[in-house]
């Protein structure tokens, strides 16, 4: 009994060990494998499933069959016009020939190291030989878009003049290639080397392009200057409009009041004329009586206020010394 159990246990252990050591191994989807016998490639397995190998003799190296990402450090690279920019690219690649891959690189770490060299070099080559705008823009679409900034100028007259004032003269240089073409150029340079290592670089894509810190500072300054120029235009336009209104105000105020003065004087004048005519017509009938009448009317008004010393010479006193009069 004891022996039987011991034997059974040993058998189970042996079978399990054998199964573990081979001859079978599982290749998952998304994997590929090299079967090596004493370091020499025997077989390349690319299909998933249960695989066979010679136990103890064969060694299996499994690689990924998937699309693999590569992500390098952002690089500070001068463009053709010597402006330093940070370029951060990513790439996609895969192992297409595991045999070549094994013999040239063997491990994934070394593969990534090699990709660093190849892709960084390609990026540097392409960026330094092109202008900044080629790396930033992709198409000439910006030339067609009417980049007029829509300002809320209200219904103020002369708003068009303001638009012209506020908008910096924008003219964009034409680009010949654009970002995707540059990426394609990088890819072509990098691809030339890749077959030696059994890998295929699927694409290289710039993930982020930005100014170096010094350049950022001066770009900020430019942006601020551009904005304050526009702000200034608004304020000054407002001042101008206000002055215009105040001018209009004074103009109309003066016109209205002087017009009123004119009318008023006209009215007064014609009334005076009418009065004059009325007087002349009436008084003209008897010149002598008018003299007398008017003089009396006037005396009534003025004489009481005089400091008077009268002479008996006056007609008024003609009966003072004689009842018969003088």
């Amino acid at each position: 009994m004891k022996k039987l159990i011991a034997g059974l246990v040993i058998l189970v252990v042996l079978v399990v060990t054998l199964l573990l050591m081979g001859p079978f191994y599982v290749l998952d989807e998304g994997q590929q494998a090299l079967v090596l016998r004493f370091g020499e490639v025997q077989k390349i397995e690319t299909e998933a499933g249960l695989k066979f190998k010679s136990p103890f003799l064969d060694n299996v190296v499994v690689y990924s069959k998937k699309v693999l990402p590569w992500d390098g450090e952002a690089q500070r690279i001068p463009t053709k016009e010597q402006q330093f920019i940070w370029v951060d690219v990513t790439a996609r690649w895969r192992i297409i020939d595991p045999k070549v891959f094994y013999s040239s690189l063997t491990t994934m770490d070394r593969a990534f190291g090699k990709l660093d060299d190849v892709i960084d070099g390609a990026v540097r080559t392409v960026v330094t030989s092109n202008y900044l705008r080629e790396a930033v823009r992709n198409t000439n679409g910006i030339l067609q878009v009417d980049a007029a900034e829509a300002f809320d100028t209200g219904d103020a007259e002369g708003a068009e003049a303001l638009q012209e004032l506020a908008l910096a003269e924008v003219s964009y240089e034409r680009i010949d290639k654009g970002r995707r073409v540059l990426a394609q150029e990088m890819l072509e340079i990098a691809r030339q080397l890749a077959p030696e290592y059994g890998i295929e670089i699927i694409d290289i894509i710039p993930r982020q392009i930005r100014y170096s810190d010094e350049l950022t500072e001066s770009v900020y300054k430019r942006m601020i200057a551009e904005r304050s120029q526009i702000a200034q235009a608004f304020r000054s336009f407002g001042e101008g409009k206000k002055a215009e209104w105040l001018g209009k105000l004074e103009n109309e105020q003066r016109s209205i009041l002087s017009k009123a003065y004119e009318t008023a004087e006209g009215i007064k004048g014609s009334a005076d004329a009418q009065a004059t005519r009325i007087y002349a017509e009436a008084y003209g009938r008897d010149r002598a009586f008018f003299d007398f009448w008017r003089a009396l009317e006037s005396y009534k008004q003025t004489l009481p206020k005089f400091d008077k010393t009268l002479s008996t010479d006056m007609d008024y006193f003609k009966f003072m010394y004689s009842a018969r009069g003088r």
Binding site: N138, I230, K242, K300
Partner: protein, 324 residues
């Protein structure tokens, strides 16, 4: 414990125990590795010895035990999202956002070589679980990389003012198309449902200048309104004043004519009578007027014209009247 109990009943019991234990363990392993559950939100990919066999829908499923068949559950119904330039710390009734900014994601160059800060999200769904599992490595990173490069590319193709305003929707739409094309090129098995731009702002250092433009517009409108206000305050007043001046003039005119007419009417009336008896009337008028004029006068000096040498002494200082 063991030492005390082993001696009497060693052999048979131990064998039986081992068999039982082995059986229990074997059946436990068998059961636990034979069934798997798939949630309503998921699909499961089943591999047999690593090779793709089938895709299972929601429910309880049987599989070959001991790792012969393996299942990978993939959430194919769930819409997943990625955030760029910002992070939600805790979503909920009051969503908490991370205070930090992520300039390495959000800062980008525009086509007119300005700098802009863009935050956005993408939403996607896995539509091919097999491709999702086995075609690409490090998938989340791949999705993020492609999304970043898409937005960078599109922002880089437009002027900053377009990016800040009118071009939002076109960027979202083109980014979605670009990402779907690129990612299906990798056979990633996902579909980008939407790209949504969130905050698009000028970078920190120049925001004040951008806001100043808005302020300047407000200032401009304020100034114009001040001008209009002054105009509106003064002009109606001036119109009223003009009216007043004219009315006063009319009044003057009317008064002048009326007075003239009155004077003349009186003159005429008197004249009519005068003509009938000129001498008498003339004298009467004279006396009447003189009387009226001298009636209230006091201290008037009267000098006889015959007293040629008399020089009247008058107190020029105050009291009227001279010698008495």
């Amino acid at each position: 414990m063991a030492e005390r109990n082993i001696t009497p009943i060693r052999g048979p019991i131990k064998a039986a125990t081992i068999v039982v234990i082995v059986a229990i363990v074997a059946s436990a392993v068998l059961l636990s590795t034979s069934f798997f559950m798939v949630d309503q939100t998921e699909q499961a990919v089943v591999l047999t010895f690593g090779k793709y066999t089938k895709t299972a829908e929601a429910g309880l499923h049987f599989k070959l035990p001991f790792g012969i068949q393996k299942n990978y559950n993939v959430p194919t119904q769930v819409i997943q999202s990625e955030q760029f330039g910002f992070r939600t710390l805790q979503a909920g009734r009051q969503t908490v956002y991370d205070d930090r900014s992520y300039p390495e994601e959000s800062v980008m160059l525009t086509g007119d070589l300005n700098i802009v800060d863009v935050e956005w999200i993408i939403q996607y769904r896995i539509n091919d679980p097999v491709a999702w599992l086995f075609n690409a490595d490090d998938r989340d990173k791949t999705i993020r990389d492609i999304s970043q490069s898409a937005i960078n590319l599109l922002v880089g193709d437009r002027a900053i003012l377009d990016v800040l305003g009118p071009a939002r929707t076109s960027i979202e739409e083109e980014a979605r198309i670009f990402m779907n094309e690129t990612l299906s090129g990798y056979g990633l098995g996902i579909q980008i449902i939407g790209v949504r731009l969130q905050n698009i702002v000028p970078p920190q250092g120049v925001q004040a200048a951008f806001e100043d433009v808005n302020k300047a517009q407000q200032d401009m409108n304020r100034l114009i309104n001040e001008g209009k206000e002054a105009y509106n305050r003064e002009i109606p007043k001036a119109r009223g004043e003009a009216d007043r001046i004219i009315q006063v003039a009319r009044g003057y005119g009317a008064e002048r004519v009326n007075v003239a007419n009155g004077d003349v009417a009186r003159f005429k009336a008197v004249y009519e009578e005068y003509r009938k008896a000129p001498d008498v009337t003339r004298d009467r008028l004279y006396y009447e007027v003189m009387e009226e004029v001298f009636k209230d006068a006091e201290g008037v000096t009267l000098i006889d014209k015959e007293l040629g040498n008399f020089i009247p002494l008058m107190n020029l200082g105050g009291q009227a009247g001279g010698t008495r």
